[in-house]
Symmetry: C2
Subunit: 219 residues, 2 copies
């Protein structure tokens, strides 16, 4: 049985990894995990010894098939828990990430399967993040963000990729939650500002950094 530390490292590597052969540097892992670089190096070596990652000294690290499988298992628990906390217990979407960060390690498969049933086998969590299936399949819909989508087109918010409670609260206050229809009214590339009009709410102006965190898809 992997420790929660192992689960957290694997999940983090999965989330940072772009594509299957990309290498993640020790420095980035250390920052993401909130540890000193030496700690990351030594932990990664242990993961490599367990066959969960491939480690290239001074190059970086990537998940093996086994490591990815485990990471997806944790991610599935995390996202199902988040959705459950919102739908069944009525917590706000801005606070469930922190809760799920702990619960993902102590919830059994039996309980997770029951939660999945109760929720009707959902495909995305409250933030629009895809929920991996029990077999480890992820349905990653290709999406663009408010920072690079077409203007004056009918779009829908698909996903908000930031777990910061303050940002999430701002997003829902502005009407920018997954499922909502939006239209980009204007984009000032030089000024780095995007003006968005969510259906049934006032238009908002976002900076590029914020706009990149709101993923949208054609409506």
């Amino acid at each position: 049985m992997p420790s929660s530390t192992v689960e957290n490292y694997l999940k983090q590597i999965y989330l940072m990894q772009q594509g299957d052969e990309a290498l993640i540097s020790m420095g980035h892992i250390a920052i993401a995990m909130g540890v000193v670089p030496g700690t990351a190096t030594s932990m990664i070596k242990t993961l490599a010894d367990s066959g969960l990652v491939e480690y290239e000294p001074r190059g970086g690290v990537r998940l093996t098939t086994g490591g990815r499988k485990l990471a997806l298992h944790v991610l599935r628990r995390h996202r199902l828990v988040e959705l459950f906390l919102v739908k069944v217990l009525g917590l706000d979407w801005s606070e469930v990430h922190a809760e799920a960060e702990e619960l993902e390690h102590s919830i059994s498969d039996k309980v997770i399967d029951r939660i999945d049933d109760v929720l009707g086998h959902p495909s995305v969590d409250p933030h629009g993040d895809p929920i991996p299936s029990a077999k480890g399949h992820v349905n990653d819909r290709p999406t663009m963000s408010l920072a690079n989508c077409e203007t004056e087109t009918s779009l829908r918010v698909a996903r908000v990729i930031d777990q910061d409670p303050a940002f999430l609260q701002f997003a829902s206050r502005s009407g920018l939650t997954p499922g909502v229809s939006v239209k980009v009214e204007s984009r000032e590339a030089v000024a780095g500002a995007v003006s968005v009009k969510p259906q049934g709410a006032k238009a908002v102006t976002l900076g590029t950094a914020a706009a990149q965190k709101i993923l949208v898809e054609p409506y």
Copy 2:
């Protein structure tokens, strides 16, 4: 923030302690926690250093006020989680103890309060064990067991004090679950056997050990 190890020790001491000044021996703690005696001794010393228990070398250990408060907090989480798993997720009462043993350490107060709301502020868990209040108050109804109650009287099962799945499954199969009305038809002290008739089920004969685990109260 106390570690799960600390929480488990405190909860265990609370459950074993009869009365406020009783001392629990190191040997008993070691057995209950599934560790070697030396481990219990050293762990108890750390708890004593944290002011959670009073430790009398070669005498035993008892909870301080602070230790009991923490133990009750854990027990509250444990029992609310058990009930939640049964009522909301539909798990069997025989399997929830093991699940709660893990979840009790990772569920936040916020989530526990929501669970408490959803369940309507229950006073007992699926096994009839009292759920401590958030302030640490326990409502311990005085009860007798099938091994020592009156015969031919209308009684009600109040509590089943054994977490062994096999025993719990046997109990529900026999119709002996909290809330059910029962009548003791006969008791053969020398033979160590009790014959019980649950309402709406066939009469069962229990040995003394089993009978002691079924607590009943006047109907």
